[in-house]
């Protein structure tokens, strides 16, 4: 103080100065306090932040003693902030070698991050070595972030990805993601593509092969068009086309696809392709079997038509037989036709009878045979119906004929028989006979039959005695008459009475149908036919044989 010499005159100034200094000091002190408060506040805030952030902030000295332990993530380890401070890391986690290893590594001066699992939680830990002024490592500070949730989410995501990958790899079809370029450059393909096409996913992904290379040339334009039209409208596409596999064979595939858009822009195509070759083949087989069935229906129809044609032809043949053969020959043909169903009926019945006798037939079997027998009986009836229709339906077909010309035509037809048998003809045909109302051909059959009967009847007499007398004449006002006499043995009264009965024959092997049918024809023309019996001890030996008569009404004559 002695050094102070006060100049009182300056005192107010000094005082002012002093006050100023005090004020400065006070201000500085306030600032310091303020700063301290701010620091405290900041520290508190930091601690608050740390204590609420899912991390652990820690510091460890060279000996492994924890000097700092803060942060919300301590909750995960069931610790309070600062709780483990002063304890050795090596003590706390003796079971987790990774802790000690990481710490030693950091203490060697390396800063690094690692993942570590503690008490069921996962942490990502960043360790940084602390160095003193001399540059020696004096400790380690670390930040551990709780990544349990993140890992779980990642694991879940991976699992879900794996699941989808597995799904994609195991669906029975190709799943793809590709660009909509000319080669449909692939971005993703499942392994199924190799099973289907023979090319591996790699070959596609590295663009060594492309679906564009595999399209059947005939199908490619439709594929491009189908895809482009659909994606331009923002619609999914559905295509069926052929591709050529690695081994060269063609398969049918079906594709369902859709555009993947980013904003409005088409980024990719994704879809699903399956091999439908088998399905196509099945369908084709089905169509073929359908076609085959149709073919068979057609064939069956054709067969029925043929059968029908045959029946018609048989009818025509029968009609033809009726026209060109004598009624006797016709009857023979008829007999042959009838023989078939009748023989079959007999066989069926006898076969059934034997089985019944042996007790070896089922009722159903028997009924089946009855049906067959009935069918054959019907067949026989139909044959007869055809004949009857022919005979009765065309009684007078409108044509008129001259009995004399009928006789001449018949003799012309029998000319060979007459000549070969040395038969002499004795004709007395009345000229200018009125025309009769009859079918020339049918009456001709009857006359021819009578002529042949006469010739056959004379086989038993010497040739020089064989004379056939044929006469025509008027029979009353409304009819004309034909008489045919032979010089054969003739018919007894009994024989002549039965001559026109069906199946009655005096000839060996004769059917007994000729005269029966002749009578049907003549009666259908409203005429009559009869035979005069042999006169007992005929006085005229030349004409001791049979004498047949037939009459036919004349045109416009009495009914």
């Amino acid at each position: 103080m002695s050094a102070f010499h006060y100049n009182t005159a300056n005192l107010p100034d000094d005082l002012a100065l002093l006050r100023g200094r005090v004020a400065d000091l006070e201000r500085a002190e306030a600032e310091r306090r303020q700063a301290e408060a701010a620091l405290r506040e900041s520290r508190a805030r930091l601690r608050t932040v740390i204590s609420h952030t899912p991390i652990i902030l820690f510091a460890i000295d060279r000996e492994g003693i924890i000097t700092l332990s803060e942060g919300k993530a301590l909750d995960v380890l069931n610790l309070k902030p600062g709780e483990v401070v002063g304890r050795s890391v090596f003590e706390i986690y003796p079971d987790v070698p990774q802790v000690a290893e990481s710490l030693r590594r950091a203490l060697r001066g390396e800063a690094f991050s690692s993942q570590i699992e503690l008490a069921g939680a996962a942490f990502e830990t960043r360790l940084t070595p602390l160095r003193d002024e001399a540059g020696e490592v004096s400790g380690v500070i670390g930040v551990a972030t709780d990544i349990t949730d993140r890992l779980r989410a990642e694991r879940d995501l991976r699992a879900s990805e794996e699941k989808f990958r597995l799904l994609a790899e195991n669906v029975p079809g190709i799943i793809y993601l590709c660009r909509n370029d000319a080669r449909y450059t692939m971005r993703y393909l499942n392994d199924e593509v190799e099973r289907v096409t023979g090319y591996s996913p790699r070959e596609f992904l590295e663009d060594r092969i492309s679906f564009a290379d595999l399209f059947h040339p005939d199908d490619a334009p439709a594929v491009y068009r189908g895809v482009n039209e659909a994606v331009s409208r923002g619609e999914p596409f559905h295509l069926i086309y052929r591709i050529r596999c690695k081994d060269g064979h063609l398969i049918w595939v079906e594709e369902f696809g859709v555009g993947v858009y980013r904003g409005d822009e088409l980024a990719f195509l994704e879809g699903y392709i399956t091999d439908i070759t088998q399905r196509v083949a099945d369908q084709k087989a089905l169509e073929e079997s359908k076609a085959d069935l149709e073919k068979r229906v057609v064939e069956r129809t054709e067969h029925l038509r043929v059968v029908n044609d045959r029946a018609l032809r048989m009818q025509e043949e029968l009609a033809h037989v009726l026209r060109v053969a004598t009624v006797g020959e016709m009857a023979s043909g008829l007999a042959h036709e009838l023989n078939q169903p009748l023989s079959a009926i007999l066989n069926y019945i006898q076969g059934a009878k034997r089985r019944i006798d042996a007790g070896a037939i089922l009722q159903a079997e028997l009924l089946g045979v009855f049906d067959k027998v009935a069918a054959q009986a019907e067949r026989a009836a139909n044959i007869l119906k055809t004949v009857r229709q022919y005979i009765t339906k065309r009684p007078a077909c409108g044509t008129c004929c001259d009995l004399n010309s009928v006789v001449r035509d018949s003799l012309e037809l029998a000319e060979t028989d007459i000549r070969e048998n040395g038969v002499r003809l004795d004709l007395s045909l009345e000229p200018d006979l009125p025309e009769s109302h009859c079918d020339h051909v049918q009456v001709e059959q009857v006359v021819l039959n009578l002529v042949r009967n006469g010739i056959q009847a004379m086989e038993s007499v010497p040739p020089e005695e064989r004379v056939l007398r044929i006469a025509t004449r008027r029979h009353g006002e409304g009819a004309v008459e034909l008489v045919i006499q032979d010089t054969g043995p003739g018919l007894t009264v009994e024989q002549s009475g039965r001559a026109f009965e069906p199946f009655h024959s005096t000839k060996e092997g004769g059917l007994g149908m000729g005269l029966s049918i002749s009578r049907s024809i003549i009666e259908a023309h409203e005429g009559r036919i009869w035979v005069a019996p042999r006169a007992p001890q005929s006085p005229v030996p030349a004409f001791g044989g049979a004498e047949f008569h037939l009459t036919l009404p004349v045109k416009g004559g009495e009914q």
């Binding site: 078939q340 069926y348 059917l511």
Partner: protein, 205 residues
């Protein structure tokens, strides 16, 4: 087609006829097989199959007569029963002359048909057996030496050992040796059996 059991082959173009004939044949437990045409039968028939043939004489394309002729040509000895309709008798007679086993006129008596069918089957079996026997004898005969064959022929002709020795300029002893070899190789116990074996074989067709 051949399982050893005799089969009655029925060829008729009329479906009802062939079906009903089969039905009748099967009623006595025989196997029957029907064919709608001669060609169908020829196409399928295995000559090794035993049995007999029932044939309709009238058929379109190849008639029963033609089929019969074809079988004769091929040396198929299957007995043939011809079925005829009315008026086909002359044709049937011709068939009989050509070696048909029987002809039956439609409609036929079932008893007659079935009896004749059974007889035909028996004949076929006998023929097959004898042709088998014939083949056996032939085979055995092949095992004989030329000299033994000469001896066999002379034995069959009724020559005595002494005569054979002269015929062949051999000693009687040698002839005896040949003769006993022949008997052994042919499997005949007696000379009578040997002769029957050789001659019986020639006699049967």
């Amino acid at each position: 087609m051949s399982d050893g059991h005799p089969t009655v082959f029925v060829v008729d173009d009329d479906p009802a006829m062939r079906e009903s004939i089969c039905w009748l044949i099967e009623s006595i437990g025989l196997k029957a097989k029907a064919f709608p045409s001669a060609a169908a039968f020829l196409g399928e028939y295995d000559p090794a199959a035993p049995g007999c043939l029932v044939l309709d004489i009238r058929m379109p394309n190849m008639s029963g007569m033609e089929l019969h002729a074809r079988l004769l040509e091929k040396k198929i000895p299957l007995p043939v029963l011809i079925i005829t309709g009315h008026g086909d008798v002359p044709m049937a007679v011709r068939a009989m002359k050509n070696g048909a086993f029987e002809f039956l006129e439609k409609p036929f008596n079932d008893q007659a048909l079935l009896e004749r069918i059974q007889q035909a089957i028996e004949l076929d079996a006998r023929r097959r057996q004898s042709s088998q026997r014939h083949a056996d004898v032939q085979r055995r005969r092949q095992t004989l030496t030329p000299r033994e064959r000469q001896v066999l022929d002379l034995v069959v002709n009724g020559r005595l050992n002494k005569q054979i020795a002269v015929d062949l300029d051999l000693s009687e002893k040698t002839v005896e040796t040949h003769r006993s070899n022949v008997m052994r190789k042919m499997g005949a116990a007696t000379v009578v059996e040997l002769v029957r074996m050789v001659l019986g074989n020639e006699g049967e067709s």
